[in-house]
Symmetry: C2
Subunit: 162 residues, 2 copies
Amino acid sequence: MAKPSNLADASQALPDPNEARVPMDSALDDLIGYAMRRAQLKLFQNLIGRLSDHDLRPAQFSALAIIEQNPGLMQADLARALAIEPPQVVPLLNKLESRALAVRVRCKPDKRSYGIFLSKTGETLLKELKDIAAQSDLDATAALDGQEREELLRLLKKVYQD
Amino acid sequence: MAKPSNLADASQALPDPNEARVPMDSALDDLIGYAMRRAQLKLFQNLIGRLSDHDLRPAQFSALAIIEQNPGLMQADLARALAIEPPQVVPLLNKLESRALAVRVRCKPDKRSYGIFLSKTGETLLKELKDIAAQSDLDATAALDGQEREELLRLLKKVYQD
DNA sequence: TATTGTTATACTCTATAACTATA
DNA sequence: TATAGTTATAGAGTATAACAATA
């Protein structure tokens, strides 16, 4: 297929190959969704790098924090809190159990379900991970001052809690 | 492995099964990264739903907008602008070409490379897609007023442009 | 020898259907 | 029959190595 007749006029406006190698976006520049995706990727990559020292993924850190706040919760609850499907909880919890950070305990009247709890090891590591995550946050938003950071957090919560 | 000795104290504080089924996060509540991930997922899902009417993905929309701003750019440039690897550009561009929205043209002195351009069809559709994306933005951030939306955009740009 | 685009491949993430064991 | 957890599987998204054509 060579140069179809509906090819847009483009023979002019070719960017100088010697100038900035990163094309500008325009059109996308006014979209909150676009800016948020790029900012989120930056924060996520930063956190992934820091957590990798402990061989953990962000979802595993989130799971530990949610378990701490809701000891004894069921896997279905954890899935809902993490906004993932129940089958995805299985390998995640298996990993946490194999590292002795959390445990499944059959303790409910309903013998089908487990209560999920942190181990002492998990509680101790989670303390450290919270500091790491807070530092990652500061690092990835270093362009903001404290007041801007608080305002950003407030606005983001307002968006997702709606 | 049954109830290891380092199991954290958890026999108390079990959430009432009759109350809110969504466990709270705490610990995560002060993290910009966590709030941004949740807000970003909300915006992304909204946009995915709206673009699906046109059988397009967000990355394909972004590609169209970038091509419009940089007619004649090479695939390596597009990959860099989209923050993806060159091999991922191939199926993306194949899709846009099969839909007659964009074209690869061998027109450079370097016969290895292509210049990428929008077709007239692509230009027309892109106009519509921009409105859709803007509406998606407004919809997913309906909890914010105009001033908050501008402030959020400003802060996000400051973060990712750093 | 280096580079553009491409193919092949693999690894992760995510989602769905089906299975088990309890209820 | 319905539910909690699990298994199996398939589809995206993403990354790397290797190849062909060209420089």
